[in-house]
């Protein structure tokens, strides 16, 4: 319940404050968001699997975000930033789909 409230609070905070993304963070924020979504769905799935661990969730969340941003940064330095961004998004998207599929199976047996 509290995480759901946290999500709502974050959304409201973003809507109210209307922050602008710093320029240095602009290439990385979208990737970080996708990575965080992956971590959240992974955590949800772990919860339903009965193996949820808060430490694992925090570490996976942060490492997901950091590694995704790092990959994109490295790609930018190598000159293949946009391609690597696409690759990261594809991989994370596949993971999100598989996690959601597992959650669906847990909840609906379908």
């Amino acid at each position: 319940m509290i995480p759901a409230l946290g999500l709502i609070a974050g959304v409201v905070l973003g809507l109210v404050l209307q922050p602008s993304v710093p320029i240095w963070a602009q290439p990385y924020l979208p990737i970080a968001v996708v990575a965080a979504l992956d971590a959240v769905f992974g955590g949800l799935r772990a919860l339903l699997d009965g193996i949820f661990d808060d430490k694992v969730f925090v570490v996976s969340f942060l490492s997901n975000v950091i590694i995704a941003a790092l990959i994109v940064y490295l790609g930018d330095q190598l000159g293949v930033g946009s391609q690597l961004s696409t690759g990261v998004v594809v991989v994370l998207g596949i993971r999100i789909f598989s996690n959601v599929a597992a959650i669906r199976r847990h909840l609906f047996h379908a």
């Binding site: 999500l7 974050g10 290439p27 969730f57 909840l107």
Partner: protein, 251 residues
Amino acid sequence: MSDTPALEPGPGAWRRLAAGIRPGVTRAQILGALLVAALGFALVTQLRQNNEEGLSSLRQSDLVRILDDVGERRDRLASEQSDLQSQLRELTTGANGSQAAIAAARDRLGVLGVLAGTMAAQGPGIEVYIADPATAVRAPALLDLVQELRDAGAEAIQLGQVRVVASTAFTDVAGGVEVDGTRLTPPYTVLAIGDSQTMATALEIPGGVIASLPQTARATVAARATLTVSALHAVKAPQYARPASPASPSG
């Protein structure tokens, strides 16, 4: 996060979900809430950013590529523009120039044609009718008449059916006068385009051309608002003379 393929029965899963979201201040709940709040915040920020900004969110290489594309496109359009402009200039000056030249040439042709007698002329003027039952009017009298008309400003003169030009010759023949090889017999009709009042005055002045005509001849001068000098003079191309300077604007 582990890939546990084991599928638990539904009620267990729902129970675990309920336990997970049950309000209870545990460390896991707080941490999860914080992270998810950060996610929501970032998500909304990014969505807003993405909506309101086009180019500013692109990375440097993309911007350089777009700039290159725009520059190339601008160059192409600039060269196309200059091509079209030069074409337009060519066409307008060409059209204007040739039209003006044609118009000028037409005007010149008209003026020269009237002067040379190769074109019919129309305008105000006088008609002189000379009745000469005794055939007493000879070539010198007609020549005097023509000269008087020229002096009075006649621009086109027709004598009988002969156009009077600079080279027109008057010769006495039996029963009449030969003008430029055409034999004319009385009565004579002279058409002259010009200021009719000036010409009529010049002809009828006491001691003038009409007064000097033989006694048996009788001349009448009638002013006409519009008369047509339709007789044409056949111009022979000069055999020896050539224009000294084709471009000299005389006329």
